[in-house]
């Protein structure tokens, strides 16, 4: 197999790849709604406090001002694409003076691996129970990840008593879906 034939194979490969990717391009652009891991999940405030922290620790103090803009810029960009919902919730607690009680079901959040829907129980404005009515379980890998992640998400939710959660590493989609649905459940409760 000479160099020419290797070139022909490579040409065919690029042709095949190009043809498919030009018809259905990779969905990197739309991934922002899917979430990018735990750091996003805490909403606007936690994003800005957690992401710059490693940047400042890794960059030497004197050059911090010159080094900072790059990571900061990307961090804020990410934050702006995903923060609309959290911004609304951080604003919400102020008008909600009454402390709600009852069971509230969040909207279904569609993730890449399946829907997530959260149900919470509130007693005088305190989250006493949270559970997933729906979670990704179409395939075994998703089932396994969901089973591992959901107990943590429940704990985080109860501890935070809000949507201000970190999410679970390795279960970024489920965490993002949980967050979205939790936000809508809290909104229904007026929190």
């Amino acid at each position: 197999m000479g160099a020419k034939r290797v070139l022909l194979i490579a040409g065919g490969t690029i042709g095949g790849l190009g043809a498919v990717l030009s018809i259905t391009p990779p969905q990197f652009g739309t991934a922002s709604s899917g979430g990018l891991g735990g750091t996003l999940l805490g909403g606007g405030s936690t994003t800005t406090t957690t992401t710059p922290a490693p940047a400042t620790t890794t960059t030497p103090a004197p050059t911090a001002t010159t080094a900072a803009p790059a990571p900061a810029a990307t961090a804020t960009k990410k934050a702006t694409t995903t923060t609309p919902a959290p911004a609304a919730t951080t604003a919400a607690p102020a008008p909600a003076k009454a402390k709600p009680s009852g069971t509230f079901t969040g909207s279904t959040s569609q993730t890449r691996f399946g829907p997530v829907q959260v149900q919470i129980t509130l007693v005088n404005g305190k989250i006493t129970a949270a559970n997933a009515l729906q979670y990704p379980n179409n395939d075994f890998r998703s089932q396994q990840i969901s089973q591992q992640a959901i107990p943590y998400l429940v704990q985080e939710t109860l501890a935070a008593n809000s949507a201000d959660i970190q999410g679970v590493g390795g279960a970024s989609y489920t965490s993002q879906g949980w967050y979205d649905s939790l936000v809508s459940a809290l909104a229904k409760a007026g929190m």
């Binding site: 022909l8 065919g12 095949g16 990197f28 396994q144």
Partner: protein, 442 residues
């Protein structure tokens, strides 16, 4: 290779590449940013691409040796076998990478120890137990095909182990479509992939099973007689009808399957030891391996299933007016058949090297053929040291060696020695024709 075949091989390369691209696109098209936003997601992503490409190459490898008649004709069996051998290792490497990387990637994602994660993947994920068995089959076929390992075992053992790759490919399919993120929720991807597997299965069933069966039954080939030619060497004479329609030539080989107890499950690649006639074909065999020993005991009337003819070790490849045929031991048999095929004007020298006098099988036939057409047969009996097959030594017997077409068949050391001799005389590759015994394999 002729110009036409080269052109066809170029097209085949493009098709191979196109499929490779389409297969890689399965993952890239369905991937998300989160598959690339860290070391371990990237590890997992790479593992999946390795899996896709490795599986694709494994399928291509099977199809290459599936005996599709028009591909065999347009590219040549020998070339297809060479490609099969070149692709095979890449397929195994890629699949091995997949196994390693997916274990690492999943373990990191789940914060589990790697051993625990592997156990969990194998025992709990759907169809992972069969896929693990499939990987073992694959690895076994790869290791036993490695030159040094291959040299240590009989053809039959190697072939049986190799046969399990079919099972391996079938067993690995379900874990792919049930756990692969490029297939879950991507019906078009799943359809492409399933189509690829079904097409490969159809090709194999049709060309490796149905067509050979139908042809074998139609030509009604049966063992007529088994003749002892020398120590451990027998000729099997087979009778059938319309064998001339097979278009076989002396120098070619078939894959033979003798339908007898303990024999039917394995096929043997044997060269014709005489030019085929309308009603008869003959092979001459040394009892080399486990199962080939039993051919001595074949009963007349035993049905023979065959695939072939294969091989480009044929008279029409000669470009000069003189040929040198060099055979070692039982490797003389295709040369004996070739002798009948050359044009009467062709000048022929035969060198027949064997360890002992009694290993000079078919000697009477060789002498008779040589007399009939004025060829010379040089018998060299004794060890490799007494008869070093270098250019100088060969030219003692065949002064016109450097101007002839060289045909050689025998054990690998002999073939390699003659190859070197030919190269040292400046004989170009297209005038050197070899048929190493193990070349038939696959």
């Amino acid at each position: 290779m002729s110009i036409g075949k080269r052109y066809n091989a170029d097209w085949a390369s493009i098709v191979l590449g196109l499929g490779l691209g389409l297969t890689a696109a399965l993952y890239l098209e369905s991937t998300h940013a989160s598959d690339w936003n860290g070391v371990y997601p990237i590890v997992t992503s790479i593992s999946r691409i390795c899996a896709l490409l490795g599986s694709y190459l494994a399928l291509v490898g099977l199809v290459l040796v599936s005996r599709i008649s028009f591909i065999e004709r347009s590219i040549g069996h020998d070339r297809l076998v060479i490609w099969h051998r070149k692709l095979g290792p890449y397929s195994l490497y890629l699949i091995t990478f997949h196994v390693l990387l997916v274990s690492i990637g999943y373990a990191a994602n789940d914060h589990a120890k790697i051993g625990v994660e592997i156990w969990r993947i194998v025992m709990k994920y759907p169809w992972m137990l069969p896929a693990t068995v499939a990987f073992i089959f694959f690895a076994a076929a790869g290791i036993t095909s490695y030159k040094k390992a291959r040299a240590k075992m009989s053809y039959e053992t190697w072939w049986t182990i190799h046969l399990y790759t079919y099972l391996g490919i079938a067993l690995s399919f379900m874990h792919q479509v049930l756990t692969g993120p490029m297939f879950i929720g991507h019906p078009l991807n799943k359809a492409y992939w399933t189509g690829l597997y079904l097409a490969a299965a159809a090709v194999i069933i049709l060309w490796r099973f149905l067509i050979p069966w139908v042809r074998s039954l139609r030509h009604n080939l049966r063992v007529e007689q088994v003749v002892v030619e020398g120590p451990g060497v027998v000729s099997i004479i087979m009778k059938g009808r319309g064998l001339d329609r097979l278009g076989a030539q002396g120098g070619q080989f078939f894959s033979w399957r003798f339908i007898a107890p303990g024999q039917w499950w394995i096929s043997h690649p044997y060269s014709l030891s005489a030019a085929p006639t309308k009603h008869h074909m003959r092979v001459t065999v040394k009892a080399l391996g486990d199962a080939s020993t039993d051919v001595i005991n074949l009963k007349p009337g035993t049905r023979v299933f065959f695939e072939g003819p294969y091989g480009t070790f044929v008279a029409s490849k000669a470009t000069r007016g003189h040929v040198t045929l060099i055979g070692g031991g039982v490797g003389i048999t295709p040369l004996r058949a070739l002798m009948e095929e050359f044009d009467p004007t062709m000048e022929i020298d035969v060198i027949f090297r064997a360890s002992n006098e009694e290993d000079l099988v078919l000697r009477r036939e060789l002498d008779a053929l040589a007399d009939a057409r004025g060829a010379r047969v040089h018998y060299l009996v004794g060890s490799r040291k007494i008869h070093p097959m270098n250019a100088k030594y060969i030219m003692n017997f065949v002064p016109a060696f450097r101007d002839s077409d060289v045909y050689v068949c025998g054990p690998t050391p002999l073939v390699e020695a003659v190859r070197e001799a030919a190269e040292s005389c400046g004989i170009p590759k297209n005038r050197f024709h070899d048929e190493a015994f193990e070349f038939h394999a696959v």
